[in-house]
């Protein structure tokens, strides 16, 4: 139990715990924001109240995730100072500015329009409301861009150099557009979208299986499916390109992802292990099942490599990522889920073309609906696994090749970190259960199809005098159901 008195390990555990937990919520809200823009746009275009009710129903789940996303995002930012002060001081000129941009450009945009999006339905004109919805979705996705720029820079630092341990920026745009930025942003963008689409599809499938509101939910399932037709294959391609980049810029991470101990020279066939058990002490895999030529096909679409792939043994033990098995299996789980999504999309699209997803027939597609329900949580798992590969694979560096994680830590006694870590573990577990509980309650209640639809031409709600809002004396539950 030595780690209990090691500030570095405890701080890393705390950052990992808070990041893994925080990520669950924005992954859904950034993707679902785009879905809400789509359904509200469909409403404005078709004036079909069904789409309005879609916007209202899904935004209930949206806000449940949003609040906890905000709450758990704040510790992320402050931990750089509380737990990683030396890192903050060394890279603040660039890294800190990027976090500042995220807050002022993206986060505030989202926060500034969220109130109107959630509560402004009867107070502003529908077009202004739509603008607010777009701004919320745009802000959330812009957040992803800035966070990914910051993280990518930690993976492939560019645009300046380290002088006496402090990063001096020479070219900000080069630093922002570091080698990892572009594809990482796309990969994460599609990840949030894909996760949300399969959550929306999965929840819709659940209602369809239960025989509740089948017409309503076959609509949202089809919207999610139509979007997945584009997103699922593109994501596989973007993932592939990201893998090629890892090979080029972070060879130690690639070696850990593949649990590759010996270097495979150019011109040789490169096998790919489907499963293996890495033995870090013995510097070998205890056992493995490998596809001959597999790695060559993955990296270069041919069995023999044109450039060598370096194995972990090519690096000193202190320069290798720890927990090779974790990186190895996280990568495989992520890839597996990506392909499962594509396959599910394909089967569903075929059924759709065969006319099996109409309101009358969709209820009989029981296995397909079960597969969609199964898919609902998988996106989260894939995203978390991807980030484990990305950030555990970066170790032992906090800034790849430049600053070691152990050098970035704050001057804080281990007992303090242990205390805050314990609090986080307890509080976050509790909150996780609460979200599941309250989320289930929202689903039990289902969509409210009686909500009055705002009108376009009549009274402009902005002109309503506050005095006209009479107190509502009914119990809270009744108020939520329908406004007079």
């Amino acid at each position: 139990m030595d780690f209990l008195s090691d500030t570095v390990i405890l701080s890393r555990m705390q950052f990992a715990l808070t990041a893994i937990f925080h990520m669950l919520w924005p992954v859904l809200t950034t993707g679902m924001g785009i879905f809400l823009v789509i359904v509200e746009g469909l409403w404005l275009r078709t004036r079909n109240p069904a789409y309005y009710h879609h916007a209202r129903f899904w935004s209930k789940l949206y806000v449940l995730n949003f609040g906890i996303g905000v709450a758990t995002g704040i510790p992320m930012e402050f931990q750089f100072g509380t737990n990683w002060a030396a890192f903050s001081e060394a890279v603040g000129d660039f890294f800190g500015s990027i976090l500042g941009f995220e807050a002022s450009m993206a986060f505030m945009l989202e926060a500034g329009f969220l109130g109107i999006m959630l509560f402004g339905w009867q107070r502003v004109h529908p077009y202004i409301h739509y603008f607010a919805t777009i701004m919320v979705a745009f802000g959330a996705n812009l957040s992803t861009v800035w966070i990914l720029i910051a993280n990518s820079w930690m993976q492939t630092p560019a645009g300046g150099e380290f002088v006496n341990g402090k990063f001096v920026v020479q070219d900000y745009f080069q630093a922002m557009l570091n080698p990892f930025s572009g594809h990482s942003i796309l990969h994460m963008f599609f990840a949030t979208l894909e996760t949300s689409l399969f959550v929306i599809g999965g929840i819709s499938a659940w209602y369809i299986l239960k025989g509740r509101n089948q017409e309503f939910f076959s609509k949202s399932l089809k919207i999610a499916l139509a979007a997945a037709v584009v997103v699922a294959p593109v994501q596989i391609w973007v993932g592939h390109v990201s893998g090629e980049q890892v090979r080029r810029y972070q060879p130690t991470k690639l070696a850990a992802m593949e649990s590759q101990w010996d270097t495979i020279p150019a011109g040789q066939a490169a096998p790919w292990s489907i499963v293996a058990w890495p033995d870090e002490q013995g510097e070998k895999n205890d056992w493995e099942i490998a596809v001959p030529g597999g790695l060559g096909y993955i990296l270069e679409f041919k069995p023999e490599l044109s450039e060598p792939v370096y194995g972990l043994k090519a690096y000193k033990p202190e320069d290798r990522p720890p927990l090779v098995w974790l990186i190895f299996y996280s990568f495989r789980i992520m890839v597996g889920i990506g392909f499962f999504f594509a396959a599910l999309m394909l089967v569903s699209a075929v059924q759709w073309l065969r006319g099996k997803l109409s309101v009358d027939t969709i209820g009989s597609q029981r296995w397909l609906m079960r597969a969609w329900i199964l898919a609902a949580p998988l996106g989260y798992i894939a995203v978390e696994c991807g980030w484990i590969v990305r950030c555990v694979g970066r170790q032992p560096w906090i800034v790849y090749g430049q600053i070691r994680t152990a050098e970035g830590v704050s001057n804080v006694p281990a007992s303090n970190v242990l205390t805050s870590l314990t609090f986080f573990a307890v509080v976050y577990t509790f909150l996780f259960c609460c979200v599941l509980y309250f989320g289930a309650r929202i689903l039990q209640r289902g969509p409210n199809l009686n909500l009055p639809v705002p009108d376009f031409e009549g009274r402009l709600p902005v002109e309503v005098e506050p005095a006209e809002h009479l107190p509502d004396s009914r119990p809270a539950e009744a108020q939520q159901e329908a406004q007079p």
């Binding site: 905000v70 930012e77 509380t82 500015s97 002022s104 986060f107 509502d472 809270a476």
Partner: protein, 336 residues
């Protein structure tokens, strides 16, 4: 010193002060309403209190995130050192903010609301307490080594001065929360908050008097500074102006004006803030690290002004728009 290397940190000191001020004022009334919710006599009242915040709390809290990001980017050394030194108060604040943030949504869905009522009220209190300790100990000074890095110990932030600052800040938040609620409510609930505003005005005044008197007595560095010309005139003027503003506030409360108390409170906050700024400047960690020592490279500061500076008016504009959309009294427990 190179004029640019002098000017840019000053600009960022000012911008940061603006962010901090907006945060203290906006999340101040927000947290104040949260603390006041602990005194609400029934669920309906608590519902109204929370509804009065539901569309703005998130944007208000975002100023804290922006302030954090800007401090990190513009003064990386100060960001690392202050947060490192204030490990415990920062996490007090963070856990408080977590509980109050989730309470908004969870209370809405919960059948038994008691737990979430306390999560909201006590969370707000804890967040304010953490901020008060942080403010108090930054003003008191943080122990640093020659390079400006934190070199103190775990409990440095806890002293009777920081307790005094924390209690006064909480009173200030309750005051601005009460005057905000006066503008947003009517009837019995409004009466209650006329009363809480009056009490909070007096307790804040007591705290402010204590701090004003004790600072020059116990801090040599502050004393030498305060009793120099031309500072002495400014620092003589601030308490006098403050007393005048408190008198105007109390008068508007007894005349039962609706908007004036909130405005007087904001002016009191502004004055206090200006006073603190004058004591602190040009230090970012009072009396040990100046803004020039802690500042990022001039190129970084320019880069940040280009990307962030022009956004300040835009951010203010859409925040104000949101307040306009939701202006008026909150009467039911919900917005629809």
């Amino acid at each position: 010193m190179d004029p640019l290397a002098q000017f840019l940190p000053q600009v960022w000191f000012f911008i940061l002060a603006l962010f901090l001020f907006l945060y203290v004022m906006l999340d101040g009334f927000d947290l104040g309403v949260g603390i006041l919710s602990l005194t609400s006599s029934n669920e309906e009242r608590r519902g109204i209190l929370m509804t009065s915040l539901s569309n703005v709390w998130d944007a208000n809290e975002t100023w804290l995130v922006i302030m954090g990001g800007a401090l990190f980017g513009a003064f990386p050394l100060a960001y690392g050192t202050i947060l490192n030194g204030l490990y415990i108060p920062i996490f007090l604040m963070i856990f408080g903010l977590i509980f109050r943030a989730v309470a908004f949504e969870f209370r809405e869905h919960a059948k038994r609301k008691l737990f979430w009522n306390y999560a909201f009220g006590l969370g707000s209190f804890l967040a304010a307490l953490g901020q008060g300790f942080a403010l108090g100990s930054v003003l008191q000074g943080i122990t640093v080594d020659a390079a400006g890095r934190f070199a103190g110990s775990t409990w440095d932030w806890l002293s009777w001065q920081s307790v005094l600052v924390a209690l006064t800040l909480i009173q200030g938040y309750v005051l601005i929360g009460s005057t905000y609620l006066i503008t947003k409510t009517e009837g019995e609930l409004q009466d209650t908050h006329y009363r809480t505003a009056k009490i909070a005005a007096l307790t804040t005044l007591v705290g402010a008097v204590f701090i004003t008197i004790s600072t020059p007595i116990f801090y040599e560095s502050a004393r030498t500074r305060l009793f120099q010309e031309p500072f002495i005139y400014i620092f003589a003027a601030i308490p006098l102006l403050g007393a005048l503003l408190i008198w105007l506030l109390l008068r508007s409360l007894s005349r039962r004006q609706e908007r004036a108390p909130f405005i007087w409170t904001i002016l009191i906050f502004t004055l206090t803030f200006a006073g603190l700024g004058l004591i602190v400047f040009p230090y970012i960690i009072p009396m040990s690290v100046t803004i020039y020592q802690a500042a990022a490279a001039p190129s970084a500061l320019v880069f940040m002004i280009i990307f962030m500076g022009f956004l300040i008016p835009i951010m203010l504009a859409y925040n104000i728009f949101q307040y306009i959309v939701f202006r008026g009294k909150v009467t039911g427990g919900h917005y629809e």
